[in-house]
């Protein structure tokens, strides 16, 4: 479904990703794990078109999307739930969720999707009229996920959805990721919480210094010595 072929990208003159290749197949949950500054966020931002790809190519459903501007990538069916939530802080929770359905393909399914999302997040439902910035961190993360889901994407990308959340909320977030995957949406997820992520993922890539250094079935990687030492702290 999504393919990155020898992608190089970065910020201005600084190259962060070097010849990075990876693939996400339809219906899969794929995770990218790696330490701080390894290039996980950069990878997702490159796919979404927020960062220009300097060489290599990105294809989605067989079509080249390498140089599409961000809003057209969304139109194709790829939505990123960004790191640190990035809500429209002065808008109400409901308005944030409405913005999620801005994509043309999402508009016809708005009512049905809204109901689904609010069933998934009852706490969000109770706070629809509140300003987004007045919510707690965990509630804001739920709104960010709900907003991303409203786009009815074919591929949903998560950047550290559990960052800064209490353990119980973290489990809820992973539960939601599982449900989203079960409903047929393909998922690409980046997480510090490697242990829990490998449990919900089918396959995983390990990224270091902007390069993929290892990849395989999530189950296998969980048993790998290097992974266990570097990311699971065992």
């Amino acid at each position: 479904m999504l393919q990155l072929n020898n992608v190089t990208s970065g910020y201005g003159a600084t190259t962060i990703l070097h010849d990075l290749s990876l693939e996400v197949k339809e219906g899969e949950v794929v995770t990218i794990v790696g330490g701080n500054g390894a290039g996980k966020t950069t990878t997702l931002r490159t796919v979404s078109g927020l960062i220009e790809t300097t060489s290599g190519s990105i294809t989605f459903e067989g079509e080249d999307i390498t140089h599409l501007p961000a809003h057209q990538v969304v139109d194709r069916g790829i939505t990123l739930i960004p790191e640190a939530r990035q809500l429209f802080s002065e808008m109400s929770v409901l308005e944030n969720i409405q913005m999620g359905a801005y994509r043309t393909a999402a508009k016809s399914q708005y009512n049905q999707r809204l109901e689904e999302v609010l069933t998934l997040f009852p706490r969000v439902k109770e706070r629809l009229q509140q300003r987004a910035e007045s919510l707690s961190g965990g509630e804001q993360q739920m709104v960010a996920i709900a907003r991303g889901m409203m786009a009815c994407p074919k591929l949903l990308m998560f950047d550290e959805p559990s960052l800064g959340l209490a353990p119980i909320v973290v489990s809820q977030v992973f539960e939601v990721v599982k449900q989203i995957a079960k409903s047929g949406t393909t998922v690409l997820i980046v997480e510090q919480n490697v242990n829990q992520t490998l449990k919900v993922a089918d396959r995983a890539y390990v990224i270091e210094n902007g390069k993929i250094v290892m990849n395989g079935q999530a189950q296998e990687l969980m048993g790998d010595d290097h992974i266990r030492k570097a990311y699971l702290g065992i």
């Binding site: 501007p69 969304v74 960004p82 429209f88 002065e90 913005m99």
Partner: protein, 293 residues
């Protein structure tokens, strides 16, 4: 008492005129973060167009709205697309130079074509006086007052109740996240610039039957418009509206009690006081310059 009432009414009339001129400026700044130093010149062009269309077609000046407003909307879009947008990755200063340059170019273009003459749009009865209790006002001023309320209310409804309006506010609050929703941010900037210029176009049409226009007319309004935008809290439409009314009142009272030579001192004195005690403007919030509601 009658004098007081009359000064208040005249102050509010003047204030609503200032509001009409400032609303587009604050909208453009609030959303696109561009300080449009050519704002007054767009108004001057609008007034020139009103004069030309009214005299050549022999129609009521208000009817020129159907030509002037769409024309200025398009002009705004063209300027955003071909002048501002190409500079989006360069320094803020460069954008400021660009709009200052545009302002100078527009003034000189008009000077070249029309010289420094004053042009009087036919007043069509809009300069006739109307008694409002103890106060006397011009019919055209009452229209401006009512229209300024409709303009501010209409913009508010547009920004809060329509999909496009929400997309505009979302872009102002978080540009990256807006792109991630599928919003074409360049297009939003274009539309916003167009709307801001269309607003000053409405002001231009309503103003034309009351004031003569020449190449410099924009300059005499734009300074006060900037004062109002800053006082209203940079980017706040409601803030600009109230700030404009306050400035109108100060202007009227100072004009009467201090004389016209000193009234500007009072206006800028108030402005400085506001900046000293409320640096983010009367209605602004230091944290959120993009507050639009």
């Amino acid at each position: 008492m009658d004098l007081l009432f009359s000064l208040v009414i005249n102050g509010l009339m003047l204030g609503s005129l200032y509001a009409m001129v400032s609303v587009g400026l604050t909208l453009i700044f609030g959303i696109t973060k561009v300080i449009n130093f050519a704002h007054g010149e767009f108004m001057m062009i609008g007034m020139m167009l009103t004069y030309i269309i009214t005299t050549y077609l022999g129609i009521h000046p208000y009817l020129t709205l159907v030509f002037v407003v769409p024309l200025l909307f398009l002009l705004g879009i063209v300027v955003q697309k071909y002048l501002i947008e190409p500079l989006k990755d360069s320094d803020e200063h460069i954008q400021i130079f660009a709009t200052v340059g545009l302002s100078i170019a527009m003034i000189n273009l008009v000077l070249m074509l029309a010289g420094s003459n004053n042009f009087n749009t036919p007043s069509s009865g809009l300069r006739e006086t109307l008694g409002l209790g103890a106060a006397t006002v011009l019919t055209g001023q009452v229209v401006i007052m009512l229209c300024s309320i409709f303009m501010v209310g209409g913009l508010h409804l547009f920004l809060t109740k329509t999909q496009m309006g929400r997309a505009i506010r979302a872009t102002a609050q978080n540009r990256n996240a807006a792109q991630l929703m599928g919003i074409n941010v360049s297009r939003i900037n274009m539309v916003t610039f167009g709307i801001g210029i269309a607003c000053v176009g409405i002001a231009a049409v309503l103003l034309s039957p009351l004031y003569p226009v020449n190449a410099q007319t924009g300059q005499s309004f734009v300074l006060i418009a900037f004062v109002i935008v800053v006082m209203g809290g940079l980017g706040s439409i409601a803030g600009a509206f109230y700030a404009a009314l306050i400035i109108g009142l100060v202007d009227a009272f100072a004009g009467f009690y201090l004389g016209s030579s000193l009234k500007d001192v009072a206006v800028f004195g108030i402005f400085l006081l506001v900046l000293i005690f409320r640096p983010s403007g009367l209605f602004g919030n230091a944290r959120k310059l993009a507050h639009v509601s």
